[in-house]
Symmetry: C2
Subunit: 527 residues, 2 copies
């Protein structure tokens, strides 16, 4: 297995030659278009489909992308990763987040521990804890049940778990499995914690403090904030808090917490939703069975990602098409557009997942690369986005590839028929219409009403957003980002780019600054 820069691969120039192969507005028109939709879709797990008919690919491009997958040894690199090779070269760590949901290959033993067993044990611990809280075996000082769970964490300890919670909150209500309401405190802005504290009943709340290192500034600050509030209510913080952290952190096994749940250095924050980082809060909110459903959905998708044939590997194909768009078609951003209000914060999670993983300019050996890497990721749910930034997507100067997500059915029972269609049908009619409008455009004598078309999109379609489909969606994007990192020869698992700001912020707080940093500190009223 070889780690080579993308532009050194033989297939690189071939792909460059293929960039003008497909004129979307032509191939998507008429009956040829219908045939493309039928042909260019492949199954994901859990009854989902990845459709890429509206991408600028044809059989030639797909064959070249298969060559790329083979030459870049994507399957072998994934295998090396889940078998426990040190893929995170910068921090010299294994990369094991997939092990939180299944054993994909050989046993991985690190620090003398079978890591799959370790993650399962932590899940079991979260399950037992949640069950005891729900049954009333664990209660507050007055012997009353806890009703609310509040996650205190930032970045990966916030965005993924929050996106997953919001994705299933209404589904859980409809299925009578919402055990506790969940809230999230993340920002060091003191108004964030104040606002959440004003919305909850502290006496009936469990706070889940999440920090792998146990030293995250924002999280420890918010912990103190919350502890003050608990004490001000005449209560004992150690009866209201649990910790999710690494075994070596100052929070581990600390009597200040009712219980400690463990993750480790082999799971990066943005990949940690299926570890205890997501497991504790989601098991408390929805019950362990629902969290297990998410894990099962993700595990099925992880299995699919093993396929060497890109036409049987939706995450790999999605990744390769993205690379083709970024490096040969020259597109620098991607919009994620779920047609599901429940996925309102899923784009924010993907923004971290993708931009923090592949927003890099050096390869895994620290050498500069000569090609663009990760794109800007942004998005909002449809149909809302249609009434907002879609204007630029349709008629703006740059082409921005689109990643749609849709479901045949909504989560809650409630719907209404107006003008012979349900809201859900209207929602889906809109996403179907958008795909075609972006691909084919429409000529008009009034140039202001003219749509050039040629704007590529893919869509993931599922039956309903539920624990399994949500887990599959999560893993699809994790694996997509991983494969893109392999192609670009990046280390997608460190984040050195966030360090400098932390160092300088500490200097400001220690008043150890000069020049412009002093001037800004004064402008902002810190000095």
């Amino acid at each position: 297995m070889e780690w080579k820069n993308f532009d050194l691969l033989k297939v690189y120039n071939k792909l460059d030659d293929l960039k003008d192969e497909v004129v979307l507005k032509e191939v998507m028109a008429g009956e040829e278009g219908a045939a493309r939709v039928a042909k260019y879709q492949i199954p994901m797990s859990n009854g989902m489909t990845y459709s890429f008919a509206a991408k600028q690919v044809n059989d030639n491009v797909l064959a070249a992308l298969q060559e790329l997958a083979d030459e870049a040894e994507l399957t072998e690199k994934y295998k090396a990763l889940y078998n426990g090779e040190m893929i995170n070269t910068g921090e010299k760590r294994l990369v094991l987040h997939q092990l939180t949901r299944g054993q994909l290959g050989e046993d991985v033993v690190a620090d003398g521990v079978n890591k799959r067993e370790f993650y399962k044990a932590q899940q079991k611990k979260a399950e037992d804890f949640a069950n005891k809280v729900h049954s009333g075996a664990i209660v507050n000082e007055d012997g009353e049940k806890f009703t609310t769970a509040v996650q205190i964490g930032i970045g990966g300890s916030d965005l993924g778990p929050r996106a997953l919670y919001l994705s299933l909150e209404n589904w859980a209500k409809a299925n009578e499995t919402l055990k506790m309401e969940a809230k999230f405190i993340s920002n060091v802005d003191p108004d964030d914690a104040s606002a959440i504290l004003s919305q909850i009943d502290v006496a009936h709340s469990i706070f889940v403090l999440v920090s792998k290192s146990g030293t995250t500034l924002e999280t420890l600050t918010n912990e103190s904030f919350v502890k003050n509030a608990i004490e001000a209510a005449g209560l004992d913080p150690s009866k209201h808090m649990v910790a999710v952290t690494s075994e070596t952190s100052p929070l581990a096994g600390n009597p200040d917490y009712m219980e400690s749940f463990y993750m480790d250095d082999y799971i990066g924050g943005r990949y940690s939703s299926t570890s205890a980082v997501g497991g504790v809060i989601l098991s408390l909110a929805f019950g362990p069975e629902v969290f297990n459903g998410i894990l099962n959905g993700a595990a099925a998708e992880d299995e699919l990602a093993k396929n060497t044939d890109v036409m049987k590997n939706p995450a790999m194909l999605d990744a390769l098409i993205g690379v083709y768009e970024r490096n040969f078609l020259g597109y620098s951003a991607t919009a994620v557009l779920p047609y599901s209000q429940a996925l309102s914060r899923f784009p924010a999670h993907l923004q971290q997942l993708d931009m923090e993983s592949n927003g890099k300019s050096v390869n895994r050996y620290g050498e500069p690369v000569n090609y663009p890497t990760g794109p800007v990721i942004f998005g909002e749910p449809g149909t809302n986005g249609q009434h907002s930034f879609y204007q630029l997507l349709h008629q703006g100067s740059d082409i921005i590839p689109l990643q749609f997500v849709g479901f045949r059915n909504n989560q809650m029972e409630n719907d209404v028929v107006i003008q012979d269609s349900t809201s859900q049908q209207k929602l889906n009619a809109n996403v179907a219409a958008q795909i075609m409008a972006f691909a084919c455009g429409k000529a008009d004598e009034d140039r202001n009403k003219c749509f050039e078309g040629g704007r590529p999109s893919s869509i993931i379609v599922g039956d309903r957003l539920a624990p399994e489909t949500l887990g599959a969606l999560l893993a699809h994007f994790e694996n997509k980002v991983m494969f893109q990192g392999f192609v670009w020869n990046l280390n997608s698992f460190d984040q050195e780019g966030v360090q400098l700001g932390k160092v300088l912020a500490k200097k400001v707080l220690a008043r150890d600054t000069e020049g412009a940093l002093t001037a800004y500190s004064e402008l902002l009223g810190i000095y």
Copy 2:
């Protein structure tokens, strides 16, 4: 006054020649950097400051930008706009949103009405209505006070008012002026309305239906959804709903609503927050005085925008620097990064404001332009973003200009001192540190830990996020977008790019499709 394409202006080539003038990591270092911070900041209204020291400008560039402002006649075009010329050429409409907060020039009479008086009358109507609801002069069927106000609208009827509500919700709590809780229903996804309805007490809720045309699909669908719920609770919808619409819409003066408030065709959705579209819901939520504060803040900023000297006109300068970055430095996206949790949805509002206004490829006469126009806009509050996508901003392959916002004080009383600093100080230390880290970077032998720097940012700093400062912030960005549209010779006030999708969605619902659109409709379970 002449409307010319940007690349036909004399100053265009001069600006292109100036693009390598400033090496940020050099000019921002040491004492020169401190001097730059002091020199390159200009006052906004309401005690706010626009600081652009960390932008790639110097006196030469600023002089050229002044030439651009003069040659493009920005002041004259703004004046023409607020004096009632038909600036929205595509739809043949005046553009009068600034008139909702002040009389900037001559009286504007349209359709036989003095428009300033018209907008003031609508404000007064909203004020009286809100006062009656708060006092108990208007009550529900059981004679009880209303406690919740729910806005039903999408796009500009949602994003701006929602962003403003969230911006002041905690401020209002702290200042005991939160009169009613506000909620928002926007998406046609039936789970959106269901979720909100499950959170509120319908019997004590007023629904504010907002649609200028009275024909917006999502809004009318959600209205039916809500009416069903009201009727299911044994209540009369006409005793729980008001309409915000144009005088010619089917909703106007309709007995189905307790009251109708009017806007008109001269205010585009994304510019409508200071009209009745924002005025009714915000007056209900916070009281009319607070909404008035927003208007006053915006009016002061609108006045500043009249200055011909760019050093006295922060919105114009911000606009010109953005054009310089987009057209000569080649940056295709801008990140908006407020260090204030209360501004969590402000970037989503700016995303619509900017991308829907200037995401266009033809000029105001419908002729194609040969230069890039509006950038992609995205953002999340700091410090959250630092733990998410900042990795790419620091070390990714593309340079993305940053627009920071910060406040010296937080909104609520609560704060906590940890390690000798408050949370607010930590928050602001982070933004100061980020500006410097982006500008100057840091060398490191380990290339993976190396920061190239040279990444430009500006920051708007205020004392506290309150009604006036929020209004000023809103107007600053509206006017920035307007000036950029003038430079690019666009019509920033129509949105033809959203039409095609609507037409095709209707065809899907009428089953009047063929080819790929039929295939997608089947895939999505509509057929």
